[in-house]
């Protein structure tokens, strides 16, 4: 059958040069190959001649969380930073010679306890055990060099506060997950998140440091002098503020007892809270400054006015008396210098209930002061505004505010009448003026400066007059409320002052809680004997740091001579 079939095929072939069988198919394949090679070479050419930049590394970095900003003070001193720390762990199942490991490790890290270490390493069924958290770089290198199998390090980040307790309340601290839970650290995470974001540079994976208004040298001087005063007068607590009144920047804020933010256990007691912002206190006579400014500003009193302080002021069944009773008709400067309750109450009554409230509202004493610090307390005011309430509130009774708010208001009275919200971040005088609110006339501010200076030159605050620095101030001694009654024994003394008084720039507030009389103070425990001398020491230490030049009049030089002689004798 096949033999017959073959010739049939022969016959079918054409006579001329016939195209090869399947030629079209070969051509098709060739075209395919040429196309594929062309595509490859074009792609090769593109990739080699115009290489596409590898973006992966950048992407990875961007996905990682941005580092927490460092915190620095106004002079660039580091207050808080993140450092990498290594933590030592062991994998007991991999340790060959437990005795050798224990010996070597205890020799390198003397604070490791040999017995507990042996216990930890003798559990072959466990695969992980912490040996020491957060070791120093030197210790890490030393342990690496031991070369013990089964011992390794895990890298962790830790927030440290190099200034320790100096920065405790203002800087605050973070929890174990580096989330801010107090002070400026909380502000950076919460309401200040926009500010924090403005510091970050995601393309560089870096963060600019957050600069605070705090001056750590001033802060150190403040804390040092305060703790000395607390020890000397056996006070239970104390606090202080130094503020630049031309910008509202807080240069130092201390509240004692304080704490060390580097402590592992952050179990702080209520005593250690920031009394300057999260507590309210009756500042007592310091509030008289507000009453005086009000009377001047409404024009109901001038420096020449006189008020009758011969008899206690009786309103209903309450009697208002004077601590330093003069029993005389007093001029306005006398009322201020002698801190007369009767006179001040009469001045407030002259202004009137309505206007008194209106003025307090204008200076912001009805509202809670909100700064960058998360802890802030609302002022406590009389519930019903009666005639008696006006009379007592005039000299600070029944009227409690955060000390920082009190400082801000007095700053506003002294700096020309501009109320500025205090800040813990840097602020220029221009920015401060843009946000400031005019609360009193510049002339009123002028008069207040005169009264403050007068009071420090020869008044209740005379011990604050650091010769040369033109200090002005007002004292306050408030009786503490114990079981709903004013106690005669327990006092809160305060001083608020400013310097140099010819052009006030810095405000100092000092507060002592329950100072006791000492033999040196002749049994007195009012502000003039404890808070005021403490403030004087603070001013004497911080004035040179802040660049305030001392200036002496002939009278000052005489006083200095006397002081020198007294010291020698």
């Amino acid at each position: 059958m096949t033999e017959i079939a073959l010739p049939e095929i022969e016959d079918a072939e054409p006579a001329g040069p016939k195209p090869l069988a399947g030629q079209n198919r070969i051509r098709l394949i060739a075209i395919c190959f040429v196309g594929a090679f062309l595509a490859i070479s074009v792609q090769l050419g593109l990739l080699t001649l115009w290489p596409k930049l590898d973006d992966d590394a950048g992407k990875l970095a961007r996905e990682a969380p941005l580092p927490r900003p460092d915190i620095i003070d106004r002079n660039g001193v580091l207050l808080a930073t993140d450092i990498a720390v290594a933590s030592l762990y062991a994998d007991p199942s991999k340790i060959i010679d437990i005795d050798e490991a224990v010996e070597l490790l205890t020799a390198t890290l003397p604070d490791l306890d040999a017995r507990t270490l042996r216990q930890k390493l003798s559990q072959p069924n466990r695969a992980f055990a912490w040996l020491k958290r957060q070791v120093t770089p030197e210790e890490r290198d030393a342990v690496y060099n031991l070369g013990i199998p089964g011992v390794g390090f895990v890298n962790e980040r830790r927030r440290v506060y190099p200034q320790g307790r100096l920065s405790s309340h203002v800087v605050g601290y973070v929890d174990l997950d580096t989330k801010g839970i107090a002070g400026i650290e909380k502000f950076l995470d919460g309401q200040g998140a926009i500010y924090t974001a403005s510091l970050a540079d995601p393309s560089e994976h870096k963060t600019e440091p957050a600069q605070m208004s705090i001056d750590i040298r001033v802060q150190a001087a403040l804390i040092d002098e305060l703790s000395q005063a607390i020890a000397k007068f056996r006070a239970i607590a104390g606090g202080g503020i130094v503020m630049d009144i031309t910008t509202g920047e807080v240069l130092a804020l201390a509240s004692l007892p304080d704490f060390n933010p580097n402590d592992e256990k952050k179990s702080f007691s209520k005593d250690q809270m920031n009394k300057m912002t999260s507590g309210v206190f009756e500042l007592g006579s310091v509030i008289k400054a507000v009453t005086f400014a009000m009377a001047f500003d409404y024009g109901t009193a001038t420096l020449e006015s006189r008020y009758d302080a011969r008899f206690p002021l009786v309103i209903g069944n309450a009697r208002i008396n004077d601590y330093h009773a003069k029993r005389a008709i007093l001029s306005v400067p006398d009322i201020f210098v002698n801190s007369s309750n009767i006179g001040t109450a009469r001045m407030a009554l002259d202004v009137g209930l309505e206007k008194h409230q209106e003025f307090l509202r204008r200076v912001g004493l009805f509202d809670r002061l909100v700064t960058e610090l998360p802890e802030s307390a609302r002022p406590l005011l009389p519930k019903r505004w009666s005639k008696l309430a006006t009379a007592t509130a005039a000299f600070g009774h029944g009227f409690a505010v955060q000390p920082l708010q009190g400082a801000a208001v007095v700053a506003g009275l002294l700096n020309g009448g501009y109320l500025m919200t205090p800040t813990f971040l840097r602020r220029s005088p221009e920015e401060a003026m843009a946000m400031a609110k005019q609360i009193v006339k510049p002339t009123t501010s002028e008069t207040m400066r005169y009264l403050f200076r007068l009071n420090a030159a020869d008044g209740t605050a005379s011990k604050a007059d650091v010769i040369g620095y033109r200090v002005g101030g007002k004292t306050g001694t408030a009786e503490k409320v114990v079981n709903g009654r004013y106690s005669k024994e327990k006092r809160l003394t305060s001083f608020i002052g400013a310097f140099p008084m010819d052009d006030p720039k810095y405000l100092v507030l000092v507060m002592l809680d329950e100072p006791k009389p000492t033999p040196e103070t002749y049994g007195f425990a009012t502000s003039g004997w404890n808070a005021v001398p403490a403030a004087a020491k603070i001013i004497e230490r911080i004035a040179p740091m802040l660049g305030v030049e001392p200036r002496f009049t002939a009278e000052d030089l005489e006083k200095l001579e006397k002081q020198k002689k007294a010291k020698k004798g």
């Binding site: 770089p137 440290v160 750590i216 001392p550």
Partner: protein, 116 residues
């Protein structure tokens, strides 16, 4: 003709292969170098941070004060100790009090000459 062309092509293939591999080798080396430098930079930055923190902690004002009172016996500055340049100028005599050069005796000048 064909043989010659083939030989050249083989040669070109070999040379380009060699060039390719040597380039890749140097690239790898450079990449390793870059990674090493990056690691080193990161480590240096970490130690800068650490040293900054340590410096800040060592120059704490309260620590310096304690050291200064203990070892130097210094006290806080008093206002009366500050003198203005004008006051200082008033105390500077017009003529030097001791004329060392006139005596032919100039210890500071001698030191400077020695150094030169």
């Amino acid at each position: 003709m064909h043989k010659f062309l083939n030989a050249i092509l083989v040669l070109v293939a070999l040379v380009s292969g060699f060039v390719l591999y040597s380039l890749e080798h140097t690239t790898r080396g450079l990449e390793r170098e870059v990674a090493r430098l990056e690691r080193e930079t990161a480590r240096e930055q970490e130690s800068i941070k650490f040293l900054n923190a340590e410096w800040s902690s060592l120059t704490r004002p309260d620590r310096l004060k304690a050291l200064a009172t203990q070892h130097l016996g210094v006290q806080p500055l008093e206002a009366s100790q500050i003198v203005t340049p004008e006051e200082l100028a008033a105390r500077v005599p017009a003529e030097p009090v001791i004329k060392l050069e006139a005596d032919g005796h100039d210890p500071i000048g001698a030191i400077i000459e020695k150094m030169q």
